[in-house]
């Protein structure tokens, strides 16, 4: 308890001074807007290659990783590592993609790259079987546990309709750049799990979300919570049914696609279309769009489409 108080106090003290860096959206929107000038695209969609190759190509269209990661910055990469299954089942983010993203971060000058998830299955087995632990280590990133409540600090979600408070992993609160790498898949509760749904892995008490209108909570957090600097949607192995865990390989279609955007709603909308669903039929995408978390209407966006 004492420790937690200490942490939260020191967080509050540091929050003001460090707010420029601790709130990724704030930093990017206010100080680094110039750097986006080199890219006119709001969203990049690419298909037909291996996850790492596609990312190389796609990030180039956004002006390279140096547009998002500056020298000596602390980066948090948040994949989906929810389940104790092998990569081919498409329940977790592709490890190859994660490795490559971390490499790009370091090439852009990142000081540290942390990777974690608040998993559903036993976290050690998830980190191991998903191939993500070794992928992160190979890329010289740091894999961090997300299993203990002590890592999570209470944050108020101002203007949230249902979600007014959430306990968020301290690394996310403390980083300069927050990169969201979900996997696109079917989801039994929300129909689809993409970028916004993936943010449930940076919070502790997800049961609260489930009890209090899941779609609204997801939208609230996407609009008023910790916004990712960049969303990279892995749609290589796509679980088309029995999600989010999947039962067998019969659930998976190899789509070899990837979508990248700073706009989390746009990323989800494009991914939904790719999956074969209309964004306005997914509760949280529609709600997040209404809250101004991003743009659901893809026609209003500058999209770069690449077929390899």
């Amino acid at each position: 308890m004492k420790r937690r108080e200490f942490l939260s106090k020191s967080f509050k003290v540091g929050a003001f001074a460090g707010s420029v860096f601790t709130i990724p959206g704030f930093y990017n929107n206010n100080f680094s807007s110039k750097s986006y000038a080199s890219s006119n695209y709001d969203l990049v969609a690419i298909k037909g290659g291996e996850p790492d190759i596609m990312f190389d190509e796609a990030i180039k269209q956004l002006g390279g990783m140096q547009n998002f990661v500056k020298k000596n910055q602390k980066v948090v990469v948040k994949p989906n590592i929810g389940w104790d299954v092998v990569p081919e089942l498409g329940a977790n983010t592709n490890p190859k993609l994660i490795s490559r993203v971390i490499e790009h971060c370091f090439n852009a000058g990142a000081k540290e790259v942390y990777v974690f998830d608040n998993t559903c299955d036993d976290w050690r087995r998830c980190y191991d079987r998903s191939g993500i632990e070794s992928a992160v280590k190979n890329a010289k990133g740091q894999i961090v546990p997300g299993n203990s409540e002590s890592y999570y600090q209470s944050v108020s979600i101002k203007n949230g309709k249902k979600l007014t408070n959430a306990k968020v992993h301290e690394l996310v609160l403390d980083c300069d750049v927050f990169i969201n790498i979900p996997v696109l898949k079917h989801h039994s509760s929300t129909q689809l799990s993409i970028a916004m749904k993936n943010l449930m892995g940076i919070v502790w008490d997800r049961r609260y979300w489930h009890r209090n209108d899941l779609h609204q909570c997801i939208a609230d957090f996407s609009a008023f919570g910790n916004k990712p600097t960049l969303n990279i949607i892995d749609a290589y192995n796509v679980m088309k049914k029995n999600g989010p865990r999947g039962v067998s390989k019969a659930d998976v279609v190899v789509m070899k696609s990837q979508i990248i955007s700073k706009d989390i709603v746009a990323a989800d909308a494009a991914s939904a279309k790719l999956f074969g669903m209309e964004p306005e039929n997914i509760g949280y995408i529609k709600l997040a769009n209404q809250l101004g978390a991003g743009k659901m209407d893809l026609n209003s966006l500058q999209i770069k489409r690449i077929i390899l």
């Binding site: 299955d121 865990r245 019969a250 489409r305």
Partner: protein
């Protein structure tokens, strides 16, 4: 061999045995692979016997080795293999150090010869054994020294180890080092804790006051091995010619089995600690080879004992029938609307049936320590009175990880038999029951689906409900009773989905939906936006 070398050897062996056993029982991080754990628990007498009842292989022969060792050298098991015995020596060692400091002058612990309490000793062998014949392991479960040690470590040492680990983790974390992770203990089981505490105190007090009195009055393993050690090949003998009748050996005998006046050693109770040999000022007491004598055998199995056995058998079977009635009802849902009671607790995969599990498990809690999700928790009355302390699946603490079979690999008694992951994935421990009245989708009219989300077989799946909503539906044939649904269910205070245990584990159907969504992917096709 030099006299004191025997004592040194004993202490060395004790350390060799107690360290790994303590490590596996206190471990929370899956440090030791289960193949090694099997060898660490290999010599533990009661688990080994119980396991050999179920299947016989090289890994279950430990008790035979112990019997042979005892026949050769006496109760080596009690002195150097049994962790509870060694624990008492450690307690004793420390308490003597403290006493020495207080009194300052040449302080010598004074043990004195105590007469054997045969009736109590054999009662505590007979009752657990007869209970076991009737399929109730409660007696042996409370008294088996290895299992008791397991519970002591699990309840008192493991939390301390975890505490130290967490403090280290928190300290490192403030330097942004995440190499050590904190471990949250999810539940605290009060009554199992209290039961263990009272036994622990009993052992502590007895050992501080009277050395190995516990081993020679209460422990059934000590009693049984005592019969063999009485006739062991090597034994402690007082040499009439060398002995100067100083009585030092008696005062140093922690088993209280040397009667220096009569110059007799009660080998039945001698735990082969060799304290007497090192303390003897002359060569008056020795560990010597001698031919076994069988002339006393008759008085071990006399008629009165036989009658006592039969009588207690009848008594216990009646008692156990009564005790089996006393079973705690587990409230699973809101009793105010629809009171639903779990009829059976859920036993771990590999335990085949509740009866088999309840009759083999000695509650050493090695599986509880090894379980990565903490779903295995000591029970109180969930299995009924006679299954007290035995681990059950507690889905409020966690759920059984789909691909994990660690408990079945480490179990030293065969209560949880080895099961491979493929078979485990189809072993139905219980069935999920949906309580619509408690479900968020019904009460709040919002989407939830946490249960179905966590279900590894999609036995719980979502079906269209009012409007755009989806509500869970359970399919018994695919359910394996892992409890992921119950764990994930967010409703409070009562869950909207729970697992009803199977008295006998069944086989679930494999969820093979062959209608693969064959989407011909044309990677050159334009994007749909």
């Amino acid at each position: 061999m030099n006299r004191s070398n025997l004592w040194k050897l004993r202490v060395f062996l004790s350390i060799i045995f107690i360290l790994p056993i303590t490590i596996i029982l206190a471990d929370f991080s899956g440090l030791i692979p289960s193949s090694i754990i099997n060898w660490i628990t290999y010599f533990q007498f009661v688990p080994s016997i119980l396991k050999s009842f179920t299947f016989f292989s090289y890994i279950t022969t430990g008790f035979i080795v112990v019997i042979i060792l005892t026949a050769l050298f006496g109760r080596i098991y009690c002195s150097s293999i049994c962790p509870l015995g060694i624990l008492q020596d450690i307690v004793n060692f420390i308490s003597r150090k403290i006493a020495k400091k207080r009194k300052k002058k040449n302080y010598r612990q004074k043990y004195l010869y105590i007469k054997e309490n045969k009736i109590l000793r054999w009662t505590l062998v007979v009752i657990p054994t007869v209970l076991l014949v009737f399929g109730i392991s409660l007696g042996i479960n409370l008294l088996d020294p290895y299992s008791l040690y397991g519970r002591i470590i699990g309840n008192f040492i493991r939390p301390v180890v975890i505490g130290i680990n967490n403090i280290t983790a928190f300290t490192l974390e403030s330097f942004k080092v995440y190499a050590i992770f904190p471990y949250d203990l999810k539940v605290f089981n009060l009554i199992p804790f209290v039961i263990t505490l009272s036994f622990f105190l009993l052992v502590l007090v007895m050992s501080i006051i009277k050395g190995r009195l516990y081993c020679n009055t209460i422990c059934p393993v000590g009693t049984v091995l005592g019969v063999i050690s009485k006739y062991s090949l090597y034994k402690i003998v007082i040499e009439n010619e060398e002995c100067i009748n100083c009585g030092i050996c008696e005062k140093d005998c922690k088993a209280n089995c040397i009667d220096s006046e009569k110059m007799k050693v009660d080998l039945n109770r001698c735990v082969a600690c060799f304290n007497c040999i090192s303390s003897c000022p002359t060569d008056g007491i020795k560990f010597e080879h001698s031919l076994p004598k069988f002339n006393n055998r008759k008085d071990v199995f006399d008629q009165t004992k036989r009658n006592f056995l039969i009588a207690s058998g009848i008594y216990i079977s009646t008692l156990s029938a009564l005790l089996a009635q006393a079973k705690k009802k587990i409230v699973a849902t809101k009793p105010s609307t629809v009171p639903v009671f779990r009829k059976f607790a859920v036993s771990p995969p590999g335990s085949i049936s509740l009866d088999k599990f309840n009759s083999k498990c000695t509650s050493c809690h090695l599986c509880v320590s090894s379980c990565p999700t903490q779903v295995l928790q000591p029970s109180f009355l969930e299995y009924g009175f006679t299954g007290m302390l035995q681990p059950r699946l507690d889905n409020l603490a966690g759920f059984c990880n789909y691909d994990c079979v660690i408990c079945s690999e480490v179990c030293p008694t065969g209560a949880i038999l080895p099961i491979n992951a493929e078979k485990k994935k189809l072993t139905q421990l219980g069935k999920a029951k949906f309580v619509k009245e408690n479900c968020i989708v019904e009460t709040e009219k919002t989407d939830c689906g946490a249960c179905s989300e966590h279900c590894p077989t999609k036995a719980v799946h979502m079906i269209p409900y009012q409007g755009k909503l989806f509500i869970p539906e359970t399919r018994d044939e695919f359910c394996i009773g892992c409890g992921a649904c119950e764990y994930a269910c967010p409703t409070i205070p009562y869950k909207a989905i729970y697992v009803e245990g199977n008295a006998i584990h069944q086989t679930a159907k494999k969820n093979e939906e062959k209608d693969k969504p064959i989407q011909k992917i044309d990677y050159k096709e334009e994007f749909p936006f």
